[in-house]
């Protein structure tokens, strides 16, 4: 009797066991794959390993330098040693003897600038390289000058020139030292050592394009009617520079006149100088009031503002005083990373003249100040005239010299390379952290494009092909930024791990517990027969 019951029980429990096994099988063999395929997100494949490889590659510019002329062996050896210590730039110095036509040209030179132009034409110094010409002509150099820097890529030196001075000059010409430090260290501004802190904050961060806005502020238009042809001034002074910089950076120039708003300054009358003195410590707060009126909300590009301020009649003439109480010659100041402000005083009209007085502005002074400020805001290398150094002035153009253009391009490429590296690395980390973030084809395309152009740019920089490097880098930077700031890359849209458990556990646990417990029945069936068999035997 009991055997029958046991057999019936066994049969019943066997069916139950098969049922439990069936449930478990469906859950594992059908359910798990279906869940897996329906919850995978589309992630475009990204070149992670390439990014890691490229991050490890060294960042430097190869700059070719030709030493022309008869020099002592020690000069070239010392020069090479000094220049090797420069971070981020590798100099490739080649020597050659001067050709007959070059010597003849130097002998028959009419003026230095004329010689410079003609010699550049026949020497064909390539873009991104420099040439140093050792001139043995006895009367070529003035008494205490041993280095003359030309407006193209040539530098003329005396045979017995001081190597330290020459290497300092070349290092300053090749790239702006601040920009180089920033790009090499890729540190934050306030982590740069010592005296560079304040100056490092002066230069604008490198972006593909800038909006340059010229603003003429006339606080009392009922008293003075200003006659300044801004369009002509921009066309004559700024447009050539903008065209010259086209390949390196885009500048879009706009101009406006702002009436009835002034700077909130309280200058004091200085009897010594017979003008109103504006002390230096009032300057930091001046532009806050006018910033909202300058129209910087029109575009999302970063803007550089250049303000020309005509003082009010009761504060005229207005001069900026430095901390030692003396008026500055230029009557202008630079606001780091923002732009520049200059105060343009106009002559006071005679007592009984009718209002408004018509005044013409000194366009040359205004545009020179604007260009000075622009040179300081962009990482354009500059040289100071020191003992023994002469810089050829420009006679008919306001353009940058060619070595300045090269220096600017190098600074921008260095900055781009370090920035792209940070952006792509951060993007990979973000994507790795959130394993179910969707990476669309658009983002994937941009990342692949950015990586390709990044490696091309690095290669071009290491081989000294500066123009190509600039092009590749600006494209790569734009693509990397577009991928990083794509609206779909928002971590918030995807569940973090701790919230995933909160969602999956209540869904799957109530279903899986009975199934797992019923598996016990299946196990029990396979384990039971063996002890019974033993008993029979």
């Amino acid at each position: 009797m009991t055997k029958l019951v046991e057999e019936k029980d066994m049969a019943g429990s066997r069916e139950g066991a098969w049922a439990a096994a069936g449930f478990a099988a469906v859950l594992v063999l059908v359910g798990l794959p279906v869940w897996w395929y329906t919850t995978t997100v589309y992630r475009a494949h990204l070149p992670y390993s390439t990014i890691v490889n490229l991050s490890g590659q060294p960042l430097y510019h190869a700059t070719g330098m030709t030493l022309v002329g008869e020099t002592t062996a020690t000069l070239s050896v010392e020069l090479e040693k000094n220049l090797r210590s420069m971070q981020g730039i590798k100099f490739q110095i080649s020597k050659r003897k001067p050709r007959k036509e070059e010597i003849a040209m130097i002998k028959s030179a009419v003026s230095l600038s004329d010689l410079d132009n003609k010699l550049t034409q026949i020497m064909h110094v390539a873009a991104g390289t420099l040439a140093v010409f050792v001139v043995h002509e006895p009367d070529f150099f003035e008494s205490n000058v041993s280095i003359i820097v030309g407006r193209h890529r040539l530098t003329y030196v005396k045979p017995g020139v001081d190597v330290q001075l020459l290497s300092t000059v070349i290092k300053s010409m090749v790239i702006d030292p601040l920009a180089n430090k920033r790009a090499q260290g890729s540190k934050l501004l306030h982590q740069l050592p010592g005296m560079h802190k304040r100056e490092a904050m002066r230069q604008v961060p490198t972006e593909p394009g800038y909006d340059v806005t010229l603003t003429l502020m006339v606080p009392e238009p009922h008293r003075t009617e200003i006659d300044w042809d801004a369009k002509a001034a921009v066309n004559e002074y700024l447009k050539p520079v903008v065209n010259q910089l086209e390949s390196v950076t885009k500048l879009i120039v706009r101009s406006q006149v702002l009436y009835m708003s002034g700077l909130n300054v309280s200058p004091k009358w200085s009897t010594d100088h017979e003008h109103f003195a504006l002390p230096q410590d009032q300057l930091p707060l001046t532009i806050n009031a006018i910033e909202a009126k300058l129209g910087s909300f029109v575009w999302t590009r970063p803007s550089l503002h250049f303000v020309i301020y005509i003082p009010r009649k009761k504060q005229m003439p207005l001069h900026i005083h430095s901390s030692d109480g003396e008026p500055t010659e230029t009557n202008s100041f630079l606001v780091p990373r923002w732009g520049g402000v200059m105060i343009h005083n106009i002559p006071l009209a005679k007592g009984n003249a009718s209002f408004p007085h018509y005044v013409t502005l000194d366009s040359h002074w205004i545009m020179s100040t604007v260009l000075t400020h622009l040179h300081r805001l962009l990482p354009i290398p500059s040289l100071k005239e020191t003992e023994g150094l002469k810089i050829l002035p420009s006679l008919d153009t306001c353009l940058l010299t060619e070595w300045q253009l090269d220096g600017l391009a190098r600074a921008r490429v260095s900055y781009y390379l370090s920035n792209i590296h940070i952006t792509l690395q951060s993007l990979c980390e973000l994507v790795g952290e959130i394993s179910n973030m969707v990476i669309s084809d658009e983002v994937g395309g941009w990342v692949w494009g950015a990586v390709e152009e990044w490696s091309e740019c690095g290669q071009a920089a290491r081989e000294g092909r500066l123009q190509e490097a600039t092009l590749y880098c600006s494209r790569s930077f734009t693509q990397a930024d577009a991928a990083f700031f794509h609206p779909s890359m928002l971590a918030l849209l995807y569940f973090p791990d701790n919230q995933k458990y909160a969602i999956y556990v209540p869904l799957f646990l109530p279903v899986s517990i009975p199934v797992i417990l019923s598996l016990k029945m299946v196990l029990g069936l396979y384990w039971k027969p063996s002890p019974r068999k033993e008993k029979v035997e």
């Binding site: 934050l188 501004l189 306030h190 802190k197 002066r202 961060p205 006659d227 042809d229 002509a232 001034a233 004559e236 002074y237 230096q280 410590d281 930091p284 707060l285 532009i287 806050n288 910033e291 909202a292 910087s296 909300f297 575009w299 999302t300 970063p302 500055t328 010659e329 230029t330 100041f333 606001v335 780091p336 990373r337 923002w338 520049g340 343009h344 002559p347 018509y358 005044v359 013409t360 502005l361 000194d362 366009s363 040359h364 020179s368 260009l371 420009s394 006679l395 008919d396 153009t397 306001c398 940070i422 952006t423 951060s426 990083f484 700031f485 609206p487 928002l490 971590a491 918030l492 973090p496």
Partner: protein, 351 residues
């Protein structure tokens, strides 16, 4: 002699304090590490009975604007409109004091995110910069690696979250991740994070990015209390922490030398009832050396120009002069202007 010694000791202790204050403004200015200032002011709650949160954030907006940060660098997010609420007995005004000293709504308030636009997603998109391409410039946080950002948040909060619009929450983990994304892309130098909600200290617990100084109006487990009720309106109109913070800020001028350390002491327990929590371990500088205006104001390091480039005259007129009026009248008789009807719809032309 002991009296003399005592006087000497007192003088020696007091003198340095005075010496520090004289000229400390310009001294501390030299140690500045940023070039521009931004402020993100967020009010997350709606409904009439949360009037005080709107008053909180508008009072902060007023202080920040008064100390110099321009509207183009302030992002103001207000979840509900109290000034034009039908229950407001004084329309178009928002006061933060029952005696109606200051109308914090003012005449030139510029709200960037209003009403239902104040969501967790918009806030995180704003911080990380991942906005849609059509977002206008006034709704973007265009900071760079030289920006100090002041972030002020107020509303209803709990342990580890802040409630937005009565329907969603932002957790402290999400906020910490947003700041980390900002740090990775170098979108700030330093952040001053102030939060005035209940259990506010939980919101800064998970921060792990450097250079953030966080101030919370209450610790975990404590509630932040409001200050006083306006019997005419019938709701509480300002919170305690913000009330005392404002009292401090109203006495700060754009060139003042009040330090952040003084701001951290602004609401002791006897007036605030809740304990003000501060997180300083991520902030490297000493708050005694940081001016309040480095976050609340906009003081720039200007550089005087020593000499300008010696450029040749590229054409154009030369000297400044007074013209004869007759000359300019002649110039004005030019060809008559052609008038046209303006476009009915603003059609954007490629500029």
């Amino acid at each position: 002699t002991t009296m003399k010694l005592l006087v000497l000791v007192v003088v020696l202790c007091v003198a340095p304090i005075y010496a520090n204050n004289v000229g400390s403004f310009s001294q501390l200015l030299k140690k500045k590490t940023h070039t521009n200032n931004w402020a993100v002011l967020v009010d997350t709650s709606r409904f009439w009975f949360n009037y005080r949160h709107v008053a909180n954030v508008l009072s902060m907006y007023r202080s920040v604007k008064r100390l110099g940060i321009p509207d183009s660098q302030i992002i103001l997010m207000v979840a509900d409109d109290m000034a034009c609420n039908p229950r407001n007995p004084r329309p178009a005004t928002v006061f933060n004091n029952a005696h109606q000293h200051i109308n914090v709504y003012g005449e030139d308030v510029e709200v960037d995110y209003r009403g239902y636009e104040v969501t967790v997603e918009n806030f995180v998109r704003l911080l990380t910069g991942r906005l849609t391409p059509s977002t206008p410039r006034s709704k973007r946080l265009l900071t760079d690696d030289g920006s100090n950002i002041l972030i002020y948040m107020t509303g209803h909060g709990g342990d580890g979250f802040l409630k937005f619009q009565d329907s969603e929450e932002i957790t402290n983990v999400e906020l910490a991740d947003a700041f980390e994304q900002m740090w990775q892309k170098k979108r700030y130098v330093e952040i001053l994070f102030i939060i005035d909600t209940c259990q506010a200290a939980s919101m800064y617990e998970h921060f792990y990015s450097p250079n953030i100084l966080a101030i919370a109006s209450s610790l975990v487990g404590e509630d932040s209390l409001s200050h006083h009720v306006d019997p005419a309106i019938g709701v509480y109109i300002i919170d305690r922490f913000t009330y005392y913070a404002l009292e401090f800020l109203e006495r700060v001028t754009p060139n003042s030398d009040r330090t952040l350390a003084q701001f951290l002491q602004v609401c002791p327990k006897r007036v605030c009832i809740s304990t003000v929590g501060v997180r300083q371990d991520l902030y490297k500088r000493d708050p005694n050396n940081v001016l309040v205006t480095e976050f609340f104001g906009s003081v720039r390091n200007v550089e005087l120009t020593d000499h300008i480039l010696d450029l040749p005259k590229c054409g154009g007129r030369g000297k400044v002069g007074l013209n004869n009026s007759s000359g300019t009248i002649l110039k004005k008789i030019s060809s008559p202007e052609k008038y046209m009807y303006a476009d009915q719809l603003p059609i954007h032309r490629a500029s």
